[in-house]
Amino acid sequence: MAASTADSWSWFPALALGVSFLKCLMINSYHSTDFEVHRNWLAITHSLPVSKWYHESTSEWTLDYPPLFAWFEYGLSHVAQHFDKKMLVVQNLGYASPATVLFQRLSVIATDVVFIYAVRECCRSVREEKGSKDLLVRPYFILAALLLWNYGLLIVDHIHFQYNGFLCGILLLSVARHLQGRHLEGAFLFAVLLNLKHIYLYIAPAYGIFLLRSYCFTKDNTDGSVRWSSLSLVRLIALGSIVISVCALSFGPFIAMGQLPQVLSRLFPFKRGLCHAYWAPNIWALYNVVDKALSVLGLRLKLLANLPKASMTGGLVQEFQHSVLPSVSPSATLICTLVSILPAVLSIWRCPRGARGFLRCLVVCALCSFMFGWHVHEKAILMAILPLSVLAVESREDAGIFLMLATTGHYSLFPLLFTATEMPTKVLLILLFTLYSFTSLKKLFRGFLLNTLEVTYLLGLIAVEIICEVVYPLLPWKQTLPFVTLLAKSVYCSLGVSYSFIRLYLSILRPTDKPKEL
């Protein structure tokens, strides 16, 4: 820091290297069943022919990502065989030799290079005012630190075990390309992303409407509305052909083998319940709680007769019925999600605010899918937090929303690491990230970003944690009502997430002075 000036980018490798070192130190920590999931997919793609990939079901963790990800695992498996051949045997369920763990962990750390590159591109696209010369207060430095050292990614990818860094890297790279005006590349990257993990379908409307409105229609009328005559067929066809060719490359072999229905049934398994074993802090968590409260109240007041004893937080995911409020079906959640996305998407059609408006719409779509989706994992909050970081270093209001959403969202990830050994790790890391995000954004925007109520809510998170981890185990109800702590955390976090969601939605609906350029 002494020798490098703010204009040379020598600090970037220092940040990236530092977090990579930290990731290497986490190699021996707890890993979840997702580790076995990916080992199984390595085995399936390596040992079996392509035609069997989506039919294989020796293990309960069947292949449920689109074909491009299967090809990615296939590529990894060729490196894996030099570490330990036994991990590639499909029958070796639960195989986790030290070499296997080392290989899998290193593969996540290595593929994070995509994420690091994407962060660099985002930092280059960030706007900044002419401010202080101090490196630590420059927006691009803060953005790099917030993204590279993001707590959620560290916990989910490098401890729990997933490949979100790689996937979010492609997402951020696509966003960066749009911010830089390179829309065809951005579209191509998004198409690739969709074929790697189909959960990103939820934000496809943002891409679709933005590209159609701002890229295919080349000119606007003077009042900002769309000029229908300026539709550029060349651009439209270019976009369409990119998307179609990527999907063809990915699904082509399976369509040729007539396996498309089987693949789709694996990709969209609606047999799972409304909520995951740990409730993601979304609308349905609040809905479940209200339903349970009403049912208990109803029983006490003798308004209701016998009720089925539904277990909503059992270990395996099952279908269940709500007791008092109407039950929620997958199609109901889909309709809710689509209805919630509609106003946001319409607003960027009517009043496009350039690439940054698109980014805002993307975050809103991601949050809508988190709030209303079917069987949402709490990890999905990362899909909203990471792109929001880019907005947070440019606008004061967004920084405030980011601090609420990120802190609440990160805290909601705590139940993912439930072992006692990981407790210091997750507490130290969340303190590190929260302290950094608060102090750096406060310094950047010169002032407090949150009001008293918001600060009180966030301090309440500490109280919730202490009550759940220290106080509750000492109480006698621990045996009879073991899920209360998870319920409490989930409900408390959903309040914060809903609040951030509403604020973000209002910011996109608020009319601006004039439409910004592409």
Binding site: A2, L17, T421, L428, L435, T439
Partner: protein, 506 residues
């Protein structure tokens, strides 16, 4: 950003690194019948919790001294007693007399690792922060960088949180001693240092500089008046502290003798295993262990140690400043490490602590020494299964300390204080700073290469100890060279008071 928030972030980073390393294996894991240092610490909790004080250091039916008998001074025993009480509250099986031998479980490991973290947090980390902020020079940013670099020193992390020991307590107390002396609170500083010696007797490596500094200070204040008064105050503090620590053992002279016998096992020979000091390296060429008798070995090492430590001690006596004190700590403890009796490779941590304190003033030599000290313990880490944490923390330390402290930019001849060498060597056109940098690069590359070879290649059948030997001889040459360097820096300093060099502040 505010200094306090940057400081908190650095401390959190240091703590995260420590806990991450503690996720790995410990010494003697799963290796009956003797296990390792982890089992030794657990065993001491068992002994101190279950047996009365007068049996702790004696060989009885309940206390078999051959199985990890207590060989540290009383404060370690009291600390083990405290941990033993906490352990029995959580799970009595952990400290059950006799039946808990070799007890291993993940809950127990979590408990033991937590005790190390708590001790570190209470003792070592605050001392480092206070030292960097009150006794080092530079801007606030530089002080925070210094805190981070000292907290990232891999040797201490890997030994305490990997191998398993409580060096952070003894080194922390010694650092509090330096802090006390540096701030002018001589009695408190002496108190802290006496506590450090009573925690681990190896802290005696640091005793000569403490003694010479305080004595020199008394001389400077005049032995007729204030100087004598200061001397008396310090002597009383030291005696009272010793008495309080050894109180339970003072009832019976036999107790005191037995404890001393356990602390200083003079029957055990010049060295054990591979260690990067003179005798072990000399043994490669001449088998001194077999040529000389044990008594001769003892006298030889005593003479060599005192001779090596003498110049720096005398210089400190004549000029008791903080700068001289820090250098004397390095020189004295390094001399003891290289020439003393029964030195273990972990004792390199004793010179490493004062070198950490020099990171702000002489970054390049300090980083070089600290990396060499971590490297010298590589065979130990390999035995404990700690290669990955070793590789990661060493790379991180070298990278960050060179980057944050601009070690390579501050490596001119002037800044490395190599002018006396130039006068000695008489080479007019050679840039000593450049030579220093290039030797540093080659050295780090060689260390990386040797580390990789130690883990990736198998040694030839005729020389099964090839790699540990290469590591220890390589480290020894580094330590010897750096001992000479630090002695030159300390002794060649002119007698006039050191003026603050404006170039050094940012």
């Amino acid at each position: 950003m505010d200094t306090w928030s940057l400081l908190s972030i650095c401390v959190l980073l240091g703590l995260t690194t420590r806990w991450a390393v503690s996720l790995n294996s410990y010494s003697g894991a799963g290796k009956p019948p003797m296990f390792g240092d982890y089992e030794a610490q657990r065993h001491w909790q068992e002994i101190t919790y279950n047996l009365p004080v007068h049996e702790w250091y004696f060989n009885t039916t309940d206390n078999n001294l051959n199985y990890w008998g207590l060989d540290y001074p009383p404060l370690t025993a009291y600390h083990s007693l405290l941990c033993g009480h906490v352990a029995s509250l959580i799970n009595p099986d952990w400290v059950e007399l006799h039946t808990s031998q070799g007890f291993e479980s993940s809950a127990h490991k979590l408990f033991m690792r937590a005790t190390v973290l708590i001790a570190d947090l209470l003792m070592y980390v605050p001392a480092v922060v206070l030292y960097c902020f009150y006794l080092s020079e530079g801007s606030n940013r530089k002080k925070v960088c210094l805190v981070l670099c000292i907290l990232l020193y891999p040797g201490l992390i890997l030994i305490d949180y990997g191998h398993f020991q409580y060096n952070s307590i003894s080194l922390g107390l010694a650092l509090w001693g330096v802090l006390g002396l540096g701030l002018g609170w001589d009695m408190l500083g002496s108190l802290a240092f006496v506590l450090a010696v009573n925690y681990k007797q190896m802290e005696l490596y640091h005793s000569l500089p403490f003694f010479c500094y305080l004595l020199g200070k008394c001389f400077k204040q005049g032995m007729a008046g204030r100087g004598l008064f200061l001397l008396v105050k310090i002597a009383v503090t030291v005696l009272v502290t010793f008495t309080l620590c050894w109180l339970p053992f003072l009832t019976d002279p036999g107790q005191v003798l037995q404890v001393l016998h356990r602390l200083f096992p003079v029957g055990r020979g010049l060295f054990e295993d591979k260690v990067a000091n003179t005798w072990c390296s000399l043994n490669v060429l001449i088998k001194i262990k077999t040529i000389l008798s044990t008594d001769t070995q003892l006298y030889l090492s005593l003479a060599a140690t005192l001779l090596a430590a003498l110049p720096s001690s005398i210089k400190l006596l004549t000029k008791p400043t903080l700068w001289q004190f820090k250098l004397a700590l390095v020189n004295s403890s390094l001399a003891f490490f290289l020439f003393s009796f029964q030195v273990h490779e972990k004792s390199i941590l004793l010179p490493a602590l004062p070198v950490c304190l020099l990171l702000g003033d002489l970054p390049l030599p300090a980083v070089w020494f600290l990396q060499a000290s971590t490297f010298s313990m590589l065979p130990l880490f390999l035995k404990d299964g700690l290669f990955v944490p070793y590789a990661v923390t060493s790379s991180a330390f070298v990278f960050y300390s060179v980057y944050l402290l601009s070690a390579l930019e501050h490596s001119s001849e002037e800044e490395l204080r190599l002018r006396p060498v130039r006068r000695l060597v008489c080479l007019p056109r050679v840039d000593l700073g450049r030579i220093a940098r290039w030797t540093f690069y080659l050295s780090v590359a060689a260390m990386a290469g040797l580390s990789f070879m130690s883990v990736a290649l198998a040694p030839p059948a005729r020389l099964p100890d090839l790699f540990p030997l290469l590591v220890s001889v390589f480290s020894f040459l580094h330590f010897l060279g750096l001992l000479l360097y630090f002695n030159v820096v300390q002794i060649a300093e002119p007698p006039s008071p050191r003026r603050k060099n404006p170039k050094k502040t940012e």
